[in-house]
């Protein structure tokens, strides 16, 4: 799969926030990165053959490239006191994601399609071709969800209305009692959805868990990565999820229109440039300083700080990308125009949902101008053996 023309990767070398930051285009590092990308692509292709031992290929072909690549990066960047530790953590994260991604590719290489219904088939087709599918829960299912989260809604609303919280962590519930979990699982383990997901993912998938979120206006977590005014508010927070092995569902529990945080998705992806795609998702979770990893606001990203930008610029060009790339798109740019022209915006009432592969499909949601949004973020996982 190739990246779709019109939404090319952000070229950080030309980004105003990187002005004055020296980029290192060391040919040897670039060659190693190129070899790593080519090898990853070869293994991804080979994984389509049912007989391929994907684990063996990864174990035998990746270390001889990735080890010297990171050794080279460490050796060349001793002037940044934090670089060695950063590269060590990035390498570990990169390997973790490679293993996760290739578990999915290996699954797909041997999966036997399970028949269910024409609807399940069309969902699987849509996930394959576009990366997402829009659906609507039954009124009975919506009622069950409403009943199940009644207390959670009161709690979250109180935090917002009375305690004036607007941060995402405070306005999210993701721990459930046994009865609540069972009720949620009864809805989200919809047989048609599970069958479609399983055929798409290449294994038997089930509901893993969900977060119930209240999205409100006047938030900043999704924007202002660099503290500059040239960030596109229309593309900010578009991102690819970290994990390929956890497909997702966003399900509304209220009316959602254009202004109260609709989820929108792009029917394109970056997985054609495999190294950049994986590295970008890894770099979302590795900051320049230990202990700052997994900060989930956009101004907590690696590139939001000067030291972070400096070490980011030392990466080979093929790895200079971020899963949360939307905040690096400039207002008025052709990339912003492409997103506006091609995005699919999900509006709808309670029970409206989108099932999607968040690692492949750039998406964003919950950015509210007016009103508020109640929504579930549902995660699926491969059924334990």
């Amino acid at each position: 799969m190739n990246a779709v023309p019109g939404l090319t990767r952000v070229r950080y070398e030309d980004h105003p926030a990187f002005a004055g930051v020296p980029f290192d285009d060391d040919p040897e590092t670039a060659a190693l990165a190129s070899a790593l990308g080519a090898t990853l692509e070869q293994i991804r292709t080979r994984a389509k053959l049912p007989s391929t031992d994907v684990v063996h290929l990864l174990n035998s072909r990746i270390p001889p490239i990735i080890d010297p690549l990171f050794a080279r990066l460490t050796e060349r960047n001793g002037d940044l006191y934090y670089a060695a530790d950063f590269f060590q953590r990035l390498k570990a994260k990169l390997i973790e994601l490679i293993i996760q991604d290739y578990e999915v590719y290996a699954d797909r290489g041997t999966h036997v399609y399970a028949d269910h219904s024409e609807t399940a088939d069309s969902i699987a087709e849509s996930l394959q071709k576009q990366g997402f599918w829009f659906g609507l829960l039954t009124p009975e299912a919506v009622q069950l969800l409403n009943d199940t989260v009644a207390e959670a809604k009161k709690t979250l609303w109180s935090r917002y209305e009375n305690e004036k919280h607007i941060d995402r962590e405070a306005l999210t519930v993701n721990r459930w009692g046994g009865a609540e979990y069972s009720a949620l699982a009864a809805v989200f383990n919809n047989e048609i959805v599970l069958n479609a997901l399983s055929n798409y993912m290449g294994g038997s998938y089930v509901f893993m868990g969900c977060a119930f979120e209240l999205s409100v206006p006047h938030t900043r977590w999704w924007t202002r990565r660099y503290g500059r005014d040239d960030e596109s508010p229309l593309s900010a927070y578009y991102h690819n999820d970290e994990s390929l092995r956890h497909p997702k569902m966003i399900c509304y529990l209220c009316d959602v229109g254009e202004t109260n945080g609709p989820t929108s998705l792009l029917p394109v992806g970056f997985e054609g440039e495999i190294l950049g795609w994986i590295a970008g998702r890894a770099l979302d979770h590795v900051r320049e300083a230990r202990g700052r990893d997994d900060v989930c606001s956009m101004d907590g990203a690696l590139v939001a700080t000067e030291p972070g930008r400096r070490v980011f610029a030392r990466l080979p060009k093929a790895m200079r990308s971020l899963g949360h790339f939307g905040n690096d798109i400039l207002a008025g740019s052709s990339q912003e125009a492409f997103i506006l022209a091609n995005r699919a915006v999900m509006t709808g009432g309670p029970g409206q949902f989108v099932l999607f592969d968040g690692a492949r499909v750039p998406h964003r949601g919950g950015i509210v101008d007016q009103g508020h949004r109640w929504a579930f973020q549902v995660i699926y996982e491969r059924k334990p053996a």
């Binding site: 007989s51 290489g109 999966h111 399609y113 087709e125 290449g202």
Partner: protein, 327 residues
Amino acid sequence: MSISGIFPALLATTDFVALDVGASHWLPNHWRPYQNEFAYVLIEPDEAACVELKKQAAALPGGLERIRVVTAALSGTGGRRTLYRTNTPTGSSLLPPRMAEDDIAIFYRYPRIDNPSYFLPLQEITLDTVTLADILASQEVSGFHMIKLDTQGTELEIALGLGDALDDTVLIQIETGDHELYESKIGLAETFAALNGRGFRLYDIKLDRDEHPLRGSADPLYSRHLFSSGGQGDPAYISRLHEVDAVFIRDPVLAVKKGDADALRRIMTAMCVYRLFGDAYQITGLGEMAGLWDTLSSARYRRDIRRAHQILRWHLDSGYRLYWENT
């Protein structure tokens, strides 16, 4: 569009025509689990046999439109040829039986020289023959994708008589051997070379051994009389290879290089008929690697392949016997 219940994905948009040359007793056993799955053309020179074949075909879904019975004698070139009709009908051929009493015949032909009732009396009948290319044109099908040939020595010339359309064939089951029962008979080496040259690869062989009877009669056999052996059931004793049914399949890699997805789907289907389920499974990934279909299609093809295996197992567990086994 497919009428197939076993291969709904593999044959969703790909047609599959099976050709049985020498179909006097209906489809071979190993094709019968799939008798409702494909289009068939059955060719048999004997008119009385064709009448019976048509009765059987008419009783199945799609009837004579799906299973066509053609009364014809085939050759590689068409035109008038001599049929050597032997006393035992299964020995009849367009090639003359080798009757000379020489060292070769005495050594190899055992009972048929001293006790030649298999061949004699021998009738020579002049008849009009057609080629497979002629049959293909008359049937208006896209090709003969799976072919079984058993014509006593003329199999290869008949197959090659399909001309360029042989390139559309994905599997040929062909009887061949070096037994020299007939004059000018094409042997194993020539058959292998010719079909390899047309892009086929040998995937399976059913061996047919022929044991010398002691002193000219069918019984006792050498094995039983002189070696106290159970003959075919004795792993310590075998006899010379008489002939083989060789299964040639179009090289999947060549089909991939041509970007021919239909050929690959037919190859997978034909492999299932010949129990090569693992090989078929592998091709699902080969086509996907080449970009000829997507991941979901691969998974659907694997579903078809597994289903075909399950159905065959069910047939076998129900007492059904395969062509390869003695019935």
